[in-house]
């Protein structure tokens, strides 16, 4: 959307398609909703994968 350019930088992320299961590299702008389509099946059901942080090592 038009706001995307003004609200901040694009943050790299990974998306997963909830129809065909494709995972791909993409990006998003914090606070801005964008319409997405799966590059494989054109579905609009995408989840942005939250990267899990590695557990803190115990001393």
């Amino acid at each position: 959307m038009s706001d995307a350019k003004t609200k901040g930088p694009r943050i790299p992320c990974r998306y997963k398609c909830l129809r065909c299961g494709l995972v791909w590299e993409g990006s998003y702008v914090k606070g801005v909703m964008e319409e997405l389509s799966c590059p494989s099946c054109a579905s609009n059901s995408q989840r942005r994968l939250k990267e899990k942080k590695p557990p803190a090592e115990k001393e």
Binding site: M1, L18, R19, M33, E35, A42, S43, N44
Partner: protein, 604 residues
């Protein structure tokens, strides 16, 4: 414009900006901030005696910087009101008065150095937004040498240069030596139809015809001047425009298909050299011109964002305001009682601007003349006893129709005249305080119950918005496109109305898959209510996953009313997902939801 100034029922507030607006159609309250003019408009006769003695010289923006103005000036000769104004940022000073020559020269004593900024409120029934446009800046296009070469001008500068009231009184001259150029070259699409980030991707609509008009003017007034026009394609699609294009060619203007890659200047002769690949011949050519005009496009003014927030307007990715419907409501904003005129809505020429302004005035008059507004039956109502003043509904309402005061614990109030009936507030309200007339929770739940009463494992519950997805399904039907018979459609006015409890209720009743479907992002008929749909579905995916329910069973799709084929494709794909859902999975889901493990109230 003079007629407007004289009209007894039109109030002009010049030098003014809108600070805030509240209320709804028929009862807007608009807060206006008006800058001081330092000149009494009623007393000023626009004689110009003040400007003659003013010692401060400034660039004249109206003349594209080709002329100067004084610190006390009239914006342009036909300005309304016909009165002077002082640019106090550049005036030598009034406290203490360091100059005061204008006040001494004024015969009618209309200059008031103590004039103050005014903030006032007006009550209006309708609002017409006519914010105009900005001209694109050609400086990022370094290859054309706009900042390096004197004889490279923009089309607006050229317009002022050849104006009878302009800096040369209409004489065409080169700025380098003030002589008549032998050849004038126009480069089209500077800043328009540009995808590399330096300009705008859209066509600015007016530039081709402006250049054609200029070419005719040059050939008519100065027949010895050669005109070359470098273009991608000429877009002469208006009434009489093709004829004008042909006349330009017949008058001797040379049209060369190709945009020069570079403009260079011969340092001695100041002649400009253009290198271009001619699209018609496929050859690299070198052309020479003594003057190059960059046909710059239009862009939305930078401050449109502020008014967008104040009036709850919607913008296109191009930055212009979005109309409520491109065909049926082309001058209406999504906010009721607000209309667009001119380039606020998109690039257009004078004729189209006047046409649209007339239409906007007529639309506004229709409301004003009637004196009352017909409110649609589908609006939200609040149960004050259930409202917890959380303000979520007020944030979710795309129209700003809901007011809540958390501090004073004043329950939500819906301005029904402003409510468009999308139902997003009802879906977001966690306490069930909001009822959407004709699309109540009970009505929708009852539909889901009826759909899933018999063999629910064979059914797919589809929540489809009235304007796009449901119509897309309709279109698929009338187009005889076959899709699986397992679909069961629940119509809501907007996908924003789809409460998460509807989705969970469908799963609790044994639905293997649920689809939430709405308009594409820019097409949402309720400004941007479908963004709330997406947020809600994303939250639901997380909740479902946490409880061991496959998120794939909840699908989200944006389908427009014209996408019957997409509707068919989506339904076929979802049917495949349905077949992967096992009876054990459905039973597990039912158990999870029966135990109410999800933190959502479920109507049973």
């Amino acid at each position: 414009m003079a007629d407007v100034a004289r009209h007894p029922r039109i109030e002009l507030h010049t030098l003014a900006t809108v600070e805030a607006a509240s209320g709804s159609v028929g009862n807007f309250k608009v807060k206006i901030r008006q800058k001081p003019r330092y000149v009494d408009v009623d007393a000023c006769t626009a004689c110009g005696d003040c400007a003659k003695v003013c010692p401060v010289l400034l660039p004249n923006e109206f003349e594209a910087g080709l002329m100067t103005k004084r610190a006390i000036h009239q914006l342009f000769p036909q300005a309304v009101p016909a009165a002077y104004v002082i640019d106090m940022d550049h005036c030598l000073g009034t406290n203490p008065i360091a100059c005061g020559k204008c006040a001494e020269a004024c015969g009618v004593h209309c200059i008031d150095y103590d004039d103050q900024e005014k903030v006032f409120e007006v009550e209006v029934g309708t609002i017409i937004v006519a914010t105009g446009q900005d001209v694109m800046d050609p400086t990022p296009f370094e290859e054309y040498g706009y900042t390096r070469y004197e004889n490279v001008l923009t089309s607006l500068e050229f317009e002022r240069l050849i104006s009878p009231l302009g800096p040369t009184l209409g004489h065409l001259i080169k700025l380098s030596d003030r002589t008549l150029p032998k050849t004038v070259a126009f480069i089209q699409c500077v800043g328009s139809r540009c995808d590399d980030g330096r300009g705008k991707p859209y066509c600015s609509n007016i530039c081709c015809m402006n250049t054609i008009k200029d070419s005719l003017l040059i050939r008519d007034h100065w027949p010895d001047v050669e005109v070359k026009i470098f273009y991608i394609d000429i877009r002469a699609f208006g009434k009489g425009f093709e004829d004008m294009y042909k006349r330009s060619k017949a008058a001797g203007a040379k049209y060369i298909r190709g945009i020069p890659g570079e403009v260079m200047e011969d340092p001695e002769t100041k002649e400009l050299i253009l290198h271009v690949e001619n699209g018609d011949t496929g050859r690299l050519e070198e052309h020479r011109a003594e003057m190059v005009i960059l046909s710059v496009g239009m862009e939305a003014p930078a401050d449109m964002r502020k008014l967008q927030t104040i009036l709850n307007l919607q913008k296109t990715p191009d930055g212009f305001y979005l109309e409520a419907h491109p065909k049926l409501l082309p001058v209406d904003a999504a906010t009721k009682g607000v209309f667009f005129a001119g380039t606020a809505e998109g690039p257009k020429d004078v004729k189209d601007s006047v046409t649209q302004a007339s239409a906007a005035a007529a639309r506004a008059l229709r409301l004003m003349a009637e004196g009352k507004v017909h409110i649609p039956a589908i609006t939200s109502t609040i149960d004050e006893d259930l409202c917890k003043f959380c303000e979520v509904c007020a944030k979710a309402c795309p129209y700003g129709a809901i007011t809540v005061d958390r501090k004073t614990k004043k329950p939500a109030v819906v301005a029904e005249a402003a409510c468009a009936g999308c139902g997003t507030c009802g879906a977001e309200c966690a306490t069930g305080a909001i009822t959407m007339k004709h699309f109540t929770d009970e009505q929708i739940i009852a539909q889901v119950d009826a759909m899933l009463a018999d063999r629910p494992e064979e059914k797919i519950v589809v929540f489809a918005c009235n304007w796009c997805s449901y119509a897309g399904g309709d279109f698929a039907g009338v187009s005889r496109l076959q899709y699986p018979p397992t679909m069961r459609l629940v119509r809501t006015m907007c996908s924003g109305r789809v409460d998460k409890k509807f989705v969970l209720h469908a799963f609790a009743k044994g639905a293997p898959v649920v689809l939430v479907s709405g308009c594409h992002y820019v097409d949402c008929h309720y400004i941007d209510a479908n963004r709330w749909t997406q947020k809600r579905v994303e939250r639901l995916w997380d909740q479902l996953e946490r409880k061991g329910i496959r998120p794939e069973r909840l699908q989200l799709e944006w389908i427009s009313s014209a996408e019957g084929a997409k509707f068919q494709t989506v339904m076929e794909a979802i049917e495949k997902i349905r077949r992967t859902v096992t009876p054990e999975e459905i039973e597990h889901t039912k158990k999870v939801l029966e135990k109410n493990l999800l933190e959502v109230p479920i109507l049973v």
